[in-house]
Amino acid sequence: MKLSRLTVMVTILSLLAAGIAFAGKDLDAVKKKGFIQAGVNGNVFGFGMPDNKGVWKGLDVDTARAVAVAIFGDASKVKFTPLTAQQRFTALQSGEIDLLTRNATRTLSRETKLGLNFVTVNYYDGQGFMVPKKLGVKSAKDLSGATICVLPGTTTEQNAADFFRTNKMDWTPVVIESTSELAQTFFAGRCDVLTSDASQLAGTRAIAPNPKDYVVLPEIISKEPLAPAVRHGDDQWRDIVDFAVLAMINAEEMGITSQNVDKMLKSKDPMVQRFLGVIEGNGKALGLDEKWAYNIIKQVGNYGEIFERNVGVNTTLGIERGLNALWTNGGLMYSPPFK
């Protein structure tokens, strides 16, 4: 009797111990697994949210798919983990996910104290305020004494505190962890104002019971460069993620889209040939297949395409390119040369 109990105990403990074995380098772990585990939002329309058939859609989702295509040549080799704002960094630090594409703002303390590496910004955003029209507020400077709904653990929380302190106004926060519950509380009137990144405000308003009753105030009170993130410690993995995002931007600069990429393979321009892998070299330098950039553009699209598909003017969000246009069009999207 005692021996069998001991055996059971030892078996359970050994299994537990085996489960906490450490993954080696991140890229090796991903290649061995055969897919990327990406952390996404799960609740923001246009960035990372499953549609009504359960297929994940969004700008961040497409970015994660581009990385999967770069490594495996197949956009389906990525699994998504929805994370709240409070869980996202711990999940990345602990190894639960390999890549965080969850509209996270790049800041100094996150890059240093949290031990994360942010790659190229895939969306330039800013923080705004959304109020019901019936309050009659025209500017963020009139919000003294207001009750404001905000997500915990975000730069939003700190920026709002700084803004109100600078302008000597006081406010009461209502802090709820779940994005959908927070939106519900705002629509029910528990708080006067909802504050978040302007893109998230647009996404939240799109799923409001009556979107016409809400207005986003004109003031943008902060810079929010949203970028995918990986852990410190694996430079090759970081380079791959970085250049997967840059490949999409570079493709738009060169005028390559998912429709004409096959025709562009026959181009005589050496820059295009190097980019698409006709002239070899880039793939080997990154440790990937030479057609990695071609695969990304063919299966996911260039930056302009993923922008217009998810958050562009023809979607319910209706966001203009603005700062997210190419540098040649007055925006900030600029890719280093691919050679």
């Binding site: 711990t90 303390s109 915990p152 519950e181 528990r190 410690g233």
Partner: protein, 424 residues
């Protein structure tokens, strides 16, 4: 040494140490024969059970210590490899976030340590009030469940079944939704009495302006309570000697109400009130009981009271029926039977499981983050997120909840010891 091998070694050592004490033969007792003067020769070192036990225990201790050391240094090495900050220095840096409700003055410019203190006080506030209300409500429903009135007993049973079986988080969401969906916005707030407003921002009511009289009244109330306690002891001794019952409840109530009233009159009867006023968005002034606090309190109290009711019922049923019949035949009223005969015996059975339920209530209050109440876990989560120091943050949470739980169970165990029946 792989972790699994270490764990297997610990397990086998602990099993051998624990099982040792059940089967040791009595080797060192002298034999009871006519020539009992002969002692058996002392056993060599490895066959002496007492010395063997010591060796094994030291070895087990060393093994556990080496595992702890391995875990600690491994964690340190990994944190350094990923360049994640360590140490408690972050407690002195600026917090940078606001907290919705605070019992002490707090702003975003204060340190993380101040923010954590605010969170801890909020947890204590909801746990303390929750514990008192739960015990009262649970006792009441437990007694109602045993009532001879069929309707009352069925209603109590229905309440217990429903509240025990719905997950507590759902109950919290339900109460919170009731508060913010059904109550109007501040501009159309309900105004049942002068100075009292009810809206989806909470219950806001007027309070007297702070005045020196109030501190004096507080001290006088404390003196009145102590005097009441002293009178209780004297009254009980007098009852034991002469049989006269002292009306202790009425006298203590008179003292607690009358003495502060006299103090208030002595200070010139100050009547200035801090009345809430609606400004552009919210009410300013007075005291606000937020819907988050109310929802958390009501959700936790109604949920835990259902469990406490069953415990109270178990305690009352553990008292034999003969006691109740004997008490009634002596002429005691049902209320006195409950108070003098049943509860002193039932409390022995009630207090240990009741302690567990009260600890559950304290720990369940950490669900506050789902409905926006700034309790300790919520504030620490934000701190972890901003500083990246998950290990220190979680260690703080464990420490704080451990101290809450240990002090609650210490208090309850002292009370339990006093309640233990002294057998003749």
């Amino acid at each position: 040494m792989t972790p699994s091998l270490i764990l297997r070694c610990i397990v086998s050592f602990l099993v051998s140490v624990c099982s040792y004490h059940t089967g040791s033969p009595l080797q060192s007792e002298p034999s009871i024969t006519p020539d009992a003067g002969l002692q058996p020769s002392a056993a060599p070192f490895w066959r002496d059970p007492a010395k063997r036990a010591i060796v094994f225990q030291v070895a087990a201790l060393l093994l556990v210590a080496s595992v702890c050391y391995y875990l600690f240094t491994n964690t340190q090495a990994n944190l350094e490899r990923q360049s994640i900050a360590t140490g408690f220095g972050f407690l002195e840096t600026e917090a940078g976030f606001e907290i919705g409700e605070a019992m002490v003055d707090y702003s975003a410019a204060d340190s993380y340590a101040d923010a954590l203190l605010v969170g801890a006080l909020n947890t204590i506030k909801v746990s303390f009030i929750g514990v008192i209300l739960t015990v009262i409500l649970g006792t009441f429903i437990g007694i109602a469940r045993l009532s001879s009135n069929w309707l009352v007993a069925r209603l109590a049973a229905g309440y217990i079944e429903v509240m025990q079986n719905i997950p507590v988080l759902l109950q919290l969401f339900f109460w919170y939704a009731i508060f913010y969906e059904t109550f109007p916005s501040p501009r159309q707030a309900l105004n049942p009495f002068n100075g009292v407003f009810l809206c989806n921002r909470g219950l806001i009511f007027a309070v007297p302006e702070a005045h020196a009289a109030h501190t004096a009244m507080g001290w006088v109330l404390l003196i009145a309570l102590v005097a009441g306690w002293g009178l209780n002891r004297w009254g009980r001794r007098r009852q034991a000697l002469t049989g006269q019952i002292f009306p202790i409840i009425r006298v203590t109530l008179a003292l607690c109400l009358g003495l502060p009233l006299l103090t208030w009159l002595f200070y010139g009867a100050p009547t200035a009130m801090n009345v809430p006023e609606l400004q552009s968005f919210n009410f300013k002034g007075g005291i606000t009981i937020s819907p988050e606090f109310s929802a958390l309190l009501l959700g936790l109290v109604f949920y835990t009271a259902a469990f406490v009711a069953e415990i109270v019922r178990a305690g009352i049923q553990s008292v034999s029926r003969g006691q109740i019949e004997a008490a009634m035949s002596v002429g005691l009223r049902p209320g006195q039977v409950l108070h003098l005969v049943i509860f002193p015996q039932a409390l022995r059975v009630i207090i240990p499981p009741l302690t567990s339920q009260l600890l559950n209530l304290t720990k369940n209050s950490s669900l506050a983050i789902a409905i926006g109440y700034a309790d300790f876990v919520a504030v620490t989560n934000t701190t972890i997120n901003q500083t990246g120091q998950a290990i220190e943050g979680v260690a703080l949470i464990m420490l704080v909840y451990l101290s809450f739980s240990l002090s609650t169970s210490l208090f309850m165990n002292i009370y339990n010891k006093k309640m233990v029946l002294v057998e003749r």
